[in-house]
Homo-oligomer: 451 residues x 3
């Protein structure tokens, strides 16, 4: 399953990479159409010029070709070689320019001379080209250049998509959000839509209690448009994840919500902790991605993010080197597992009440305690006795510890995530104990702890 995810991710990277995306236009539409083969993304179109809170949806941008030719007619900068050569959202232009006239419209990265930078000008009409410093250095500074950007920038639409999984209880709703607006760039941002699509596939197979709304939209303006169109819905969202930069070769990271201790933060921390995985924990800051919109004062939805090679932090970020070689399906699949693990914890995070709450439950008469006692810890393995590693259908190296922690805090107030934080026992292990104890009629599920 994990390997299959890695394989699907690899194929999707390769299929989606060539498309020239932007915050509007056919690049997004084509991308969504491919993703629809994997999950039931529902596409929505919003007209240019629509006011969405403090913003206005801009004209739609599409592009066919772009180049800078030298006096020999050779394309020294060529859109067909890389679509990030064009300043994204460039208005159409045709003409001849001396190098001196042209050079203020050329963007390079002197400190990373072999990479083409990725630059945009969405809300200010402009045109330009991005190229590597090495390319720039080779340009003849005394020549005339023929410039062509064969783009259109006209009233049209902004395109986004969503889908939903409804849980059996439906009392809590989480948003799972990613963006889609970068041209041929892999970790930021193709990895986000791919993981989000595969995450839907994984959750779709589970018996869910909570509701999950998935959205894929151009960053910032797209999500603002989506929130504007679903304002009442977002008044009742309990938390969520913004999925971005999840498939790099480097370290795992987690950016916490503004609360630093929301359930979405806590299940991520527990997931890394129980795997004994090192990761960088990033405090909340009002930068990054669409958590800025979901967490804005009127909504204050706590949003967390798991990353692998977090945006801002890797050298290849927003350059032509964030390419198919930088990411891998395996890396994406590892991050996917962490997201699934986080959501599994949200799903089982119930509160239980022990029915006989005066003193301990006698585990022995239920076959949950070794019949011969006196070891250092009852759960320890001993050479000349069958180890209590399997108790009922609970498999855990310290099964009795897990049971004891669970029953001690089965007080009708404390949820499994909290018990896991106090005890170090994985949430899923506590959940298995809880299921066993429900079956034994030792505890009851507390349906509504506040009701």
């Amino acid at each position: 399953m994990k390997n299959n995810n890695a394989k699907v991710a690899k194929n999707l990277f390769e299929e989606l990479y060539p498309i020239c995306r932007s915050i509007t236009g056919n690049g997004v539409r084509d991308t969504l159409q491919i993703l629809q083969e994997y999950a039931p993304w529902h596409v929505h179109e919003f007209c240019s010029g629509t006011q969405v809170f403090d913003w206005i949806i801009p004209d739609e941008w599409n592009i066919k070709d772009a180049y800078v030719k030298n006096e020999q007619g050779i394309r020294v900068i060529d859109f067909n070689a890389s679509n990030i050569h064009v300043l994204n959202y460039s208005e159409p232009i045709r003409g001849n320019f001396s190098f001196d006239k042209l050079k203020d419209r050329l963007y390079t990265l002197p400190e990373f001379p072999e990479a083409i930078p990725y630059r945009t000008s969405y809300f200010n009409r402009n045109w330009g080209f991005c190229l590597s410093q090495n390319q720039y250095d080779k340009l003849n500074k005394n020549e005339q250049y023929e410039v062509c950007i064969d783009s259109t920038l006209e009233p049209g639409h902004l395109t986004l998509a969503d889908m939903e999984l409804k849980g059996s209880e439906g009392k809590r709703t989480y948003i799972i959000s990613t963006y889609c607006c970068h041209p041929s760039l892999c970790n930021d941002n193709l990895s986000g839509p791919i993981l989000t699509t595969l995450l839907y596939q994984a959750l779709e197979k589970m018996d869910l209690r909570h509701n999950y709304r998935f959205v894929i939209a151009p960053e910032t303006i797209g999500i603002i448009t989506y929130i504007h169109a679903n304002e009442e819905f977002f008044r009742d969202v309990d938390g969520g994840f913004v999925i971005t930069t999840v498939a790099g070769p480097g370290e795992f990271g987690a950016k916490m919500s503004f609360s630093h201790n929301a359930d979405v933060d806590r299940v991520i921390r527990l997931g890394f902790g129980e795997r004994k995985m090192k990761y960088n924990e990033y405090s909340f800051a009002p930068d990054g991605s669409d958590e800025r919109q979901y967490s804005s004062p009127s909504f204050r939805i706590p949003i967390a993010t798991i990353t692998k090679d977090k945006y801002y932090e890797y050298k290849e970020y927003h350059t032509s080197k964030d390419d198919l070689d930088f990411v891998s399906g395996d890396a994406l699949s590892e991050t996917l597992e962490l997201y699934i693990s986080a959501i599994e914890k949200l799903e089982v995070n119930n509160i239980y009440r022990v029915l006989e709450d005066r003193c301990e439950i006698q585990l022995g008469k239920r076959g949950l305690y070794p019949t011969v006692s006196g070891h250092v810890k009852q759960s320890a393995n001993e050479a000349n006795e069958s180890s209590p590693k399997v108790i009922g259908d609970i498999i855990y190296s310290n099964a009795i510890d897990a049971i004891s922690w669970f029953l001690f805090y089965a007080d009708g107030k404390t949820d499994l995530v909290t018990i896991s934080e106090k005890s170090g026992v994985p949430v899923i292990q506590l959940h298995k104990v809880a299921q066993k104890m429900l079956k034994e009629n030792v505890v009851a599920l507390v349906e509504d702890p506040n009701g």
Copy 2:
């Protein structure tokens, strides 16, 4: 006094060590009878078969003899050599067994080959023998063995004892609890009943404000029985101590209550702190001893424990090597002092209110401040002046600091334990200051801060 306690403890260890105790039977009765010579323990008997919450009191177990004889008639395992050779609570058995038939009923500790493990089977009818790995290795594996366990397991009683000290105010009640069910094992658990008995002697000499209920019972089933018989009483208990493993040669430890910051936790921390003693602080876990019952959801009584060589942590735990050589009266007496110190703090933990609460009190006119001032700190010792080390009857290296901290927080809300935590001034020193200030009519005792 301390030396006397050490001596009494040593004698009691020696007198109680040979008795074969279990969770029921004459071993407990004989032990309690000896302890009654030192404190007014009141003995209670509870019938086998009684339902106590989720448990049932088992049949009473008594034993006269037990052995395994080889073909030469020599006792190769002999109850008379050590009563922990018998799997505690073994049902009676007589018969001849090949080694192959016998070997599944033999318990050893391969990793500690010279020690006999201590094993029990209270709630599952069973029989067996415990022996050192060295003994086991010497057994002829081809012989027939004559096995005899001359025990009885019949309807009878579970035996426990309690006693009480009533305080002058009686608004708060603490439980001081220990268990008594192990055969010839010293730190776990003879040290507990001995210290508890001596602690009664010490408290009995004090003018107490609070109530103290002392209980000694077989671990788990005994305390559950006791709580069952006193359920209403336990609804009003404010905290307590479970006394176990207090006389080893190793490090001091303190296991905190589930709250980690109950008054019983705080006075223990302060006691170690003011002595500048190193100790291991153990977070609460739902293991250990009878704190599991007192702190169960229905009661949630915070219980702390001071240990010297904490259970689970020393190699000799639950083996024949936890013997008279392992423990000492001196070690027990040191731990006793820490318990007395903790309870002294609970006793004096009053709240005071300064009568003139606007600006400072003038200490000088009350003879509490040096008449010539200007030192680096007024309390510093100087060569050519009488040091203010003794002020009134307050002896303290920084008497003025103690007075200042006390008066600053004599605000009718802050108790002495809190002032001690903020200031580092020992609680008893603050109490002496408070008594002096009461006499000077500078402060009043706040009888009921919430009333």
Copy 3:
């Protein structure tokens, strides 16, 4: 301006140093008269014998001359050489004494033999002399000495002064308090009155929102007298600063209020933090200076203190070596800047509310965001593009970060000091952002967050 403060401070140290001050008498009056040339200190006199809370204002002390002459008529101890030679508040005396009779009235510092200690006896009639251990060692122990203290100790007055700056809103009131009672001693305590006077000059030039009450009085008895006379006023004081030992050569320190997290504590921490300055943070203790009175139970006004060479901590403290060489105008001026910075933060610590609180504000259309985007962080400086270091009139290395943090927390609840603590953006920078956003009609000032 800073240099001018340093110069004025230096001159004031020199002018005030020779005066023999005490808790009453002409020394204080003369000092206040000189300070009145720099700020409108309003002088108040309180009669000896007046009861002020638990204290009584003592008789007024004045002194003309004092000496100890040897048999050759040479002044071996001479008030004219240093006024701290006299035990401060010595009653008048004239007579001849053998060395043996005299020696109990001589105070030295054996561990710092070249320094004269400063000693007082305010509330107990006494007389004596202070001298260096070196001087003491040279005294002929077999001679008769002629002693003269030409002082008066008679009903008179205690003298203190205050002044006030009223803020435009006046909802909050802060006390800025210093003491004046030490003779020729510089860091403790001339530096306090000098800084306080210069602080008034600085605040007087600002448009203030809050009220500031300045007071200069003899330590302890003087401030108690002042609070007694203004008891109702002090019921409404929100916080303050006690200014002492601010001009030494050593390390900065900050003694926190009893709350450790009052606004006066927080603005001091932020001031050191944004300058990346090392300082010693001292926890509250009920010692030190007049914070003891302001923070006494009935008032509980949080008071913080910034020091440079904190009292108690430097060797020269309360000796003749705390002289003009120990302090400097530059050091005092540096500490003054920190106090001004703290008060500026209190002044701008407003709460704002973003008017469109659903999703982000579009900064670009207001000229607050670079038109070409895609850098690692939008605020980063890049070689081939105008750096966004100046945005509007906001100058900040990370202007967009400052704006983002401000707008994210412009939720009508969070004040600028809190935003600064969360973000690391200096309060004044956030204030500039807020002013810009007010002008752009993006936010509103929340007049009364609780109203």
